[in-house]
């Protein structure tokens, strides 16, 4: 079963790498990284101007780094999953390639999971990659020269970044793919996409303020992931081959 899912994932990934949208989203992410780097730099400078010693600056910087890594990873993951998922399935439905795929011995769940993983894996990997690259870059450029050592995020933001954020994205992607499978109108799909992404973003943002990285982020993120999982499970009853074919009319 897994072998066939990997086949779908590999093919979709190849197609994603051929799209301009993918490289456009990388450009947006790089812009975000530069902005966040500026925020951290400003924080360090103001701490030093207040007369804090390097040892006193570390407890100020560490939570900031935590929220930065978590926020950036989630943002990047959401951005990529938005761009990638918007492309893959819509085109396959318009060209009726999906209908042919549904006629193979693959089950609907295999196809759904394959399509979801094809969006989730690059989004999650790139999200983590950019977040940790940003952390390394900020340490190298602004923190180490000022206080003589690197600062890493605490345990809570690391768990939130490595576990909770990918979980949120996984269930968000399965939900987005399910909606794409059963909705005919591209405009409605886009509205649903934006609604979900902003919903998740606003749902988490009150608990993620710069400099206040705590276990709350982990619990809230896991709760959001659980809600998305429940909605996906509910929606899975509506995802049928018939509905997919009938909503593929262009």
């Amino acid at each position: 079963m897994m072998k066939q899912i990997i086949v779908i994932v590999k093919k979709d990934l190849k197609e994603t790498l051929r799209t301009r949208a993918f490289y456009f989203s990388i450009a947006i992410v790089l812009f975000f990284m530069v902005m966040l780097g500026g925020v951290v730099r400003g924080q360090i400078n103001s701490s030093i101007e207040q007369g804090l010693t390097p040892a006193e600056v570390i407890p100020v910087i560490q939570p900031l780094m935590g929220t930065l890594v978590f926020t950036l990873s989630l943002l990047v993951m959401m951005l990529f999953c938005l761009y990638i998922s918007a492309y893959t399935l819509t085109m396959e439905k318009i060209k009726h390639s999906l209908e042919s795929l549904l006629c193979t011995p693959l089950s609907l769940r295999q196809i759904w999971l394959g399509k979801s993983l094809a969006v989730f894996l690059p989004s999650a990997i790139l999200g983590l990659l950019f977040a940790f690259a940003a952390m390394a870059g900020i340490n190298q450029l602004f923190i180490a020269p000022q206080i003589g050592q690197s600062v890493t995020p605490g345990a809570a933001p690391l768990v939130a970044t490595l576990v909770a954020a990918p979980l949120i994205i996984f269930f968000l992607v399965t939900l987005l793919i399910a909606l794409q499978l059963i909705i005919t109108n591209i405009r409605w799909i886009n509205i649903a996409f934006m609604g979900l992404i902003f919903g998740v973003g606003f749902g988490i943002s009150p608990f993620v303020r710069l400099g206040s990285a705590s276990w709350n982020i982990v619990f809230i993120s896991l709760a959001v992931a659980a809600i998305l999982a429940l909605v996906t499970m509910f929606l899975s009853r509506l995802v049928t081959k018939e509905r997919i074919v009938l909503s593929s009319k262009g």
């Binding site: 066939q4 060209k95 009726h96 390639s97 193979t104 011995p105």
Partner: protein
């Protein structure tokens, strides 16, 4: 009796409250080239979708190769060409076939040999590395056909496989279908092309407004339906004789056992009903000085069968 390959048993399908298939039943047997005919909107594509497990029927049973279509493995040995070819435009022909080989779990050692064979079979070997977006409609259909036969299916389901294909391409596609049938494959061919069906199929079903109107062996249907029809070849040569022939049409139609009489150049086609007397018809023509060269019974084409059954629905 040959093994049933596709069985539809009292299948009803409704979509958005509309009855699309109304209690349809038929059996496609092993080795059949089964023609599935019908006007636009008759329910042909829906039937194919039901057979391929895309649409569950509201009632009735569907089995393919002895398995219920609800099971995903019922499609293990089924190849298909759908109305929309479903090829990936930004992939090459080779990549398209390679993708499906992987989906079917074909071992890597067999894969490239099989792809080359299929591309050779449909005459696309020299365009294997070209993107499908650069292909003509005919080439796309051939590639879709190659994809359908990738792993030696026992059953091929073809929805309008020659639609939009040029005449040479049509002959090639038809030949490929016949070759597959010779290798023992069962073929379910949905088509608008009556000539194609007449040339390739041994059995047919005709669907109209969601109901099977006609079903059986093509030759038997042609002879059964043709029994009540005669064609008279006349020896008219002059314009005056032609006028005579026009005049006699009404006279023949007035006979109690003649349902209709049509003139086609030198021919008269008569549809008979009840107890008929062909010698009386010949006598009437002789009285009018019209030479009768030949009287043929039972000649009815698939086109005529189709027109008769679907009258008024297109």
């Amino acid at each position: 009796m040959a093994q049933p390959v596709i069985t539809l048993d009292n299948v009803t399908k409704m979509i958005a409250g509309r009855l699309i298939l109304n209690n349809i039943s038929f059996v496609v047997e092993q080795g059949d080239i089964f023609g599935y005919l019908g006007p636009n909107g008759a329910g042909k594509t829906t039937t194919i979708r039901v057979i391929l497990g895309l649409f569950p029927p509201n009632s009735g049973k569907v089995s393919v190769l002895g398995k219920s279509v609800e099971r995903d493995d019922a499609r293990e040995k089924v190849g298909f060409v759908l109305e929309a070819d479903g090829l990936y435009d930004n992939m090459t022909a080779y990549e398209n076939l390679d993708y499906y080989c992987q989906i079917y779990g074909m071992p890597s050692v067999m894969k490239s040999k099989r792809i080359d064979e299929m591309l050779e079979l449909v005459g696309l070997s020299d365009r294997a590395e070209d993107k499908v977006s650069s292909y003509s409609k005919g080439m796309r259909q051939k590639l879709a056909l190659a994809r359908s036969m990738l792993r030696e299916p026992d059953l091929l389901i073809l929805d309008e496989p020659t639609a939009g294909v040029d005449p040479t391409g049509q002959i090639e596609v038809r030949q490929t279908i016949l070759n597959s049938a010779q290798r023992g494959k069962t073929i379910f061919l949905s088509s608008h092309n009556l000539d194609e069906v007449q040339r390739t199929c041994n059995r047919i079903a005709l669907i109209d407004q969601g109901e099977i109107k006609l079903y059986g062996e093509l030759e038997k249907l042609r002879s059964d339906m043709g029994k009540r029809q005669i064609t008279i070849e006349t020896g008219i040569r002059t314009r005056q004789q032609a006028k005579l022939l026009d005049g006699v049409v009404a006279e023949l139609e007035a006979l109690p056992y003649v349902a209709s009489c049509d003139r086609e150049a030198q021919k008269l086609r008569l549809r008979l009903e009840g107890r008929s007397d062909v010698s009386e018809i010949v006598a009437i023509l002789s009285q009018k000085n019209i030479d009768v060269e030949e009287v043929r019974k039972g000649e009815i084409s698939l086109e005529e069968i189709y027109a008769k059954v679907t009258q008024g629905s297109e």
